[in-house]
């Protein structure tokens, strides 16, 4: 098996579209990926400061509400608070709409898939509160610019972003002998959370050659990584544990705390053979199969090692490998992939989404995604979403996919396409005969579209 345009669009991109031709070669995919990010230009998402602006406004409004003395004043302040909270949610919805419109209308679908993959690999988010949509800004700032770069840069960008520093408690961590600890500042002491997940999830993998001592040493080395709401990432030497730390037998730093020493450790972790293997396997599992061909993983890991983790080279090794194009049933689309590729197949226009209206967006997207098992941007833990096909297709989750597929297309575009045409648009040359038959035999257009979108042929990549 070798490169196939439709399979490239479905397995490595955002699906088929009646408007946009699938890529015609692996080289074309990679050259788009390393070129201009046109989808981000067309459908922008702001950086962390936009999330901070909402945070500031919401906090101020809550504070003002607490300070009220009269009933009339309370009424007014309550209204003001609701207004800023609503503005925050509406903006969060706009950002989500942008990510979906990119999927629906991009010519560079591989990039959108990679952004989702790496954003999940480096999972970071806020559970709730006035920064609850900041994960979108994190993905935009720390992940998206680096998906076609070096893995080491991706690692550094994620580990120094405020959303990650908050999510894995790094910004609260201080060396036991740091200046801050000596002065008994409120900040506390060491916290291992980011160090552990960096070794276990982000770089070496849980089977990697590290010990509890390495976790501890890396946690000490990472002290000082911090941020401020105003300025974003900030290195605070006052939090840093003095002295050198030894991670995986390499010594970093000395008396004076320096950010360069932390970055040097990132470079070494990124370069480690266990990391090459872990990343190669994870990419192959995500894009190709829950049980990828070992030769494919080997080829990708070898390319990673040869190129010092230059990601486009690793992707090239995947796309060049026959196993990537095997005719097996592909992975199950995650719910965001399912919805994104549905929008693309339905050829929706940007104004079809009620982008800045949180209530409607929640009903059409956020709640259905939750019911499909993917609370957008908020997986259960730092290991991100499951790659196991069987976990996505349980009766409960499948029923949420059925309902969305049967009902939402009609809300998105009242003039539904003819299911007999739609089945060809959505599935391309490989339409299974029974799906073609079902599209023709359905009683209504909505059911016909719903059956096509629910079919395994569309649900798989």
């Amino acid at each position: 098996m070798s490169f196939d345009p439709e399979r490239a669009a479905i397995r490595f991109g955002c699906g088929l579209s009646p408007r946009i031709a699938p890529p015609d070669s692996a080289e074309a995919m990679l050259s788009q990926l390393t070129g201009r990010d046109r989808a981000a230009e067309a459908f922008p998402v702001p950086g962390f400061q936009a999330a901070v602006a909402h945070y500031v406004a919401v906090r101020a409004a809550r504070k003002a509400l607490r300070a009220t003395k009269t009933e009339a004043d309370r009424e007014a302040k309550l209204k003001a608070r609701k207004k800023v909270e609503r503005a925050m949610s509406d903006d969060g919805s706009r950002w989500f709409a942008s990510t979906m419109l990119r999927r629906a209308l991009t010519e560079d679908g591989f990039r959108e898939r990679l952004v989702a993959f790496w954003s999940d690999h480096f999972t970071a988010f806020e559970q709730g509160g006035p920064l609850r949509f900041s994960h979108v800004t994190y993905t935009e700032e720390a992940i998206r610019p680096h998906v076609a770069g070096r893995f080491a840069d991706l690692l550094r960008a994620s580990a120094t972003h405020p959303v990650m520093l908050r999510y894995l408690d790094q910004s609260r961590s201080a060396g036991p002998n740091s200046q801050a600890a000596e002065r008994r500042e409120k900040i506390g002491g060491l916290n291992e959370n980011l160090a552990r997940e960096m070794l276990e999830l982000h770089t070496l993998g849980v089977e990697g050659p590290y010990t509890q001592t390495d976790v501890r040493q890396l946690a000490e080395l990472l002290t000082g990584l911090s941020y401020s709401m105003k300025a974003g990432f900030k290195f605070r030497p006052g939090l840093a544990e003095p002295g050198a730390e030894t991670v995986l037998s390499v010594e970093y730093g000395g008396n004076k705390a320096r950010l360069e020493d932390i970055y040097a450790a990132f470079e070494d972790l990124a370069r480690h053979p266990a990391t090459a293997r872990h990343i190669a396997r994870k990419l192959a599992v995500h894009f190709v199969s829950d049980r990828p061909d070992e030769a494919l993983v080997d080829a990708m890991a070898a390319r990673y090692a040869e190129t010092d983790g230059n990601l486009p080279e690793v992707y090239a090794a995947m796309l060049e490998h026959p196993a990537a194009w095997a005719d097996q049933p592909g992975n199950i689309k995650q719910p965001v992939d399912f919805i994104g590729s549905s929008l693309r197949a339905l050829d929706i226009v940007p104004r079809a989404l009620p982008s800045g209206k949180y209530g409607r967006m929640r009903r059409m997207f956020f709640t259905p995604l939750q019911l499909m098992g993917q609370d957008w941007g908020r997986p259960a833990g730092p290991d991100g979403w499951t790659e196991s096909d069987a976990e996505w297709i349980t009766p409960q989750r499948l029923s949420a996919r059925l309902i969305w597929g049967m009902t939402m297309p009609y809300e998105l575009r009242r003039a539904l396409p003819d299911p007999r045409d739609f089945v060809e648009t959505a599935l391309g040359r490989r339409v299974p005969e029974e799906v073609r038959f079902a599209a023709r035999a359905a009683e209504t257009r909505a059911e016909g579209i719903g059956i096509v979108l629910s079919s395994p042929a569309f649900q798989r990549m």
């Binding site: 849980v206 010990t211 009903r363 019911l371 499948l398 798989r460």
Partner: protein, 417 residues
């Protein structure tokens, strides 16, 4: 896994029998149940995130305890929370004191799964649910509760339910367990149903889930079987509105309480085993604020179970277990990091409670595991194994070979009356 596929008619009949409580059922946490012979009931709660056993059941009598934790964690032990002169209950568990006094609550301390050293949540939970001595990454691995079902001679497939949107490794395996969720509603024409069956047919993953998915889609509004069979078509916004309403319900604090009540309803009938998760125990920071929330969830769950089980509580044993304990010392941010030894909780009228069992290893630095964690002195599987032996008359050989391969059951802690 073998998923029991229910016919739509049968499904609707069963759901109608359960009435409206379903419509209010929380959706976030799967509950799995199975029937089994005999009168005894077992409820397994998985506490996810790594419960700090040293905080939940505080060994205040250990000389090191205060100094390890006093600066950053609340270690106060009001007299009324004293358990036995050495251990005391976390204040958030105070509502459980009447159970302790009635002999319906007990703990095992300094226990752990066989998992060591890497302290990963994900691997730790896998090993806890798989019940094995070491990590098995095979995609078709099964869970110990399912193997228990396989070992019960007259266990029946009926009345096996999972509620929520995902299943747990704990209950995965050959014995029949079906999934059920009241999340969503979809009135489909009979033709569409037939066509869906047809397009799903050649893909086993979809084929196995479709009939149930369709049935699920139609009961979620709390409609009776008749209403669904009739012409009560809803427009799509009404449908999605209902999805949203049920989600809003799931987010409320009452979620776990509702699950416990639903489970109790089933346990009062044929169901003998139920399992679900309580989350939120990963307290790296601000533990004094965060742990009480998770412990309150646990305590609410137990109290709701006791109340809703009524007389059946006397025949019920609940075991709550977690993937690992946490560090003996507080970390720098008022929390604790991933550790090893911890505590497990037992409750129920079938229990010989009012005791904290276990060999206390001490908290002196040299007594700690890796000089940082409470040293585990017993395998959680040994306690769970003895409970199953006593509740269901399971043969110890079967427990040691099949349910918990390689476990050393050791001396009987005599947890069951």
């Amino acid at each position: 896994m073998t998923r029991q596929t229910l016919s739509r008619r049968l499904f609707l009949t069963r759901s109608a029998a359960l009435g409206c409580s379903l419509a209010a059922s929380p959706l976030m946490t799967p509950v799995t149940m199975a029937s089994a012979p005999g009168e005894n009931r077992l409820v397994v709660l998985i506490l996810r995130g790594g419960l700090d056993g040293l905080d939940a059941v505080r060994p205040y009598g250990a000389p090191e305890f205060d100094s390890y934790r006093g600066r950053l964690l609340d270690t106060a032990v009001p007299g009324e929370l004293d358990l036995d002169g050495f251990y005391a209950l976390h204040p958030a568990l105070a509502p459980l004191m009447p159970l302790w006094q009635a002999g319906e609550l007990g703990f095992a301390h300094a226990v752990s799964t066989p998992y060591r050293d890497k302290r990963s949540h994900f691997d730790g939970q896998d090993i806890l649910e798989a019940g094995t001595a070491s990590l098995d990454r095979a995609p078709d691995r099964d869970g110990w509760l399912n193997r228990l079902l396989q070992g019960l001679p007259d266990a029946e497939a009926e009345t096996a339910y999972a509620i929520g949107r995902s299943d747990m490794l704990l209950t995965r395996g050959k014995a029949d367990v079906s999934n059920w969720s009241p999340d969503a509603a979809l009135p489909l024409s009979p033709q569409a149903e037939k066509l869906l069956d047809m397009v799903m047919h050649d893909d086993p993953l979809f084929r196995d889930a479709t009939a149930e998915a369709i049935a699920l889609s139609q009961i979620s509004l709390g409609l009776s079987a008749d209403a669904v069979e009739g012409e009560d078509a809803l427009d799509s916004s009404g449908m999605m509105g209902a999805m949203q309403d049920s989600m809003a319900g799931a987010g409320k604090k009452g979620g776990l309480d509702e699950i416990a009540r639903f489970a109790a309803g089933r346990l009062r009938e044929e169901t003998r085993i139920a399992a679900w998760s309580v989350n939120g125990f990963d307290t790296h920071a601000a533990q004094s604020k965060r742990l009480p929330r998770a412990l309150t969830d646990l305590s609410d769950t137990l109290l709701a179970l006791r109340e809703a089980l009524g007389p059946v509580w006397e025949k019920t044993a609940v075991v709550a277990m977690t993937e690992f304990g946490r560090t003996a010392r507080a970390n720098g941010t008022g929390g604790t990091d991933h550790g090893t030894g911890g505590a497990m909780l037992f409750a129920g009228g079938a229990l010989r409670g009012g005791r904290v069992v276990g060999d206390w290893p001490g908290l002196a630095e040299a007594d700690l595991y890796d000089r940082r964690d409470l040293m585990p002195t017993r395998d959680v599987r040994a306690h769970a194994g003895w409970m199953m032996r006593q509740l269901f008359g399971l043969d110890t050989g079967l427990i040691e070979r099949s349910v918990f391969p390689g476990v050393e059951l050791g001396a009987d802690p005599k947890l069951i009356l």
